[in-house]
């Protein structure tokens, strides 16, 4: 795969995009939580927020946003926190988190069918 590494040359960028914060509330987002924009970007918005709102016009997983923005997952979670707090996005959480490690048998059956169809 050809991709440039994530900002190894400029660690300051990570600091800048998050306003110096290093932690998000990790519980607000799973790595595969699906993010959905609830508004369009507005002038003056931080460019990373603009990109997230554009990507998430369709549901988009946190890791996909991370890959598209070329920012580490935990940095993306901090950016998402801002957007969530201001009502600009909504989050569709994975159901696996709610079932304490025991997947719904129906879901497993659906996954088997989908895999068989590959």
């Amino acid at each position: 795969m050809n991709r440039r590494p994530i900002d190894r040359e400029s660690p300051d960028r990570l600091y800048t995009v998050t306003g110096g914060r290093t932690r998000a509330d990790e519980t607000a987002f799973d790595s595969v939580s699906l993010i959905v924009s609830e508004c369009e970007p507005v002038p003056g918005m931080q460019s990373e927020h603009v990109k997230i709102l554009q990507l998430a016009r369709r549901p988009t997983a946190v890791v996909e946003i991370s890959a598209e923005l070329r920012l580490p997952v935990s940095v993306v979670k901090i950016l998402l926190r801002d957007l969530l707090d201001t009502g600009r996005i909504t989050v569709r959480h994975p159901s696996a988190g709610a079932t304490a490690g025991k997947p719904d048998p129906d879901i497993l059956r659906q996954v088997l069918v989908a895999l068989n169809d590959l």
Binding site: M1, R3, I6, L14, T22, R23, E26, D30, S31, V32, S33, L34, L55, R57, R58, P59, T60, A61, V63, E64, S66, A67, E68, R70, P72, V73, S74, V75, R92, P94, S95, A96, G97, G101, K102, P103, P105, I107, L108, R109, Q110, V111, L112, A114, L115, N116, L118
Partner: protein, 186 residues
């Protein structure tokens, strides 16, 4: 080119492929994914360092792990993400940040470097994460029985051969995992 999810997508699941460098993780993810695999990174936060090893809190080093992923549509509302992740020690510091709540894992092994997978198998057991072991057959090598013995795998853990370049073969590995999960939970 990005392929967005459907508007109705509401629930995402994950399966993780772990293994040493060059064992075929990226190849396997690419073989079954409906999108071109994407890659990204996670950095270990100081908080998570503190949980695993209090002595490291004082050092300001951040650990970065790279991983890649693809996805498979399960239904209008459900999507499965397949992650390829390195099995080395530092990777496990970010396991909870990234892979808590996974359905299960595939440990991909190369028989020429079986010892690369000892640590991953230990950690998956420690995390109570169900897994299967898949031998990516580069060329010949020991029988599955010999591999099972060398890895000291308990009889209940499925062990299969695969060719990470072949979609049907990777599909078989994933089906083996989901059938294993079904036996565990249903």
């Amino acid at each position: 080119m990005r392929t967005p999810l459907r508007d109705s997508a509401a629930d995402a699941m994950k399966i993780v492929v772990v293994g040493g460098f060059g064992v075929g993780k990226t190849t396997m993810v690419g073989s079954v994914s409906e999108i071109r695999p994407l890659s990204t990174e996670e950095v270990m936060t100081e908080a998570s360092v503190g949980i695993d090893d209090a002595s490291r809190v004082r050092t300001k080093t951040t650990t970065t792990v790279a991983f890649d992923f693809g996805r498979i549509t399960v239904s209008d509302s459900t999507v499965l993400y397949l992650f390829g992740a390195p099995g080395q020690e530092r990777f496990w510091f970010v396991w909870d940040q990234l892979f808590a709540g996974s359905l299960g894992a595939v440990v991909l092994v190369d028989t020429r470097r079986l010892e690369d997978s000892f640590y991953s198998i230990d950690r998956l057991e420690h995390h109570d994460m169900p897994f299967v072991v898949a031998v990516n057959r580069f060329a010949g090598g020991p029988s599955l029985d010999a591999v099972r013995e060398a890895l000291d795998l308990s009889p209940g853990i499925p062990l299969v051969d695969c060719d990470a370049r072949e979609r049907q073969s990777c599909k078989h590995v994933l089906i083996t995992l989901v059938e294993h999960l079904t036996r565990l939970y249903v």
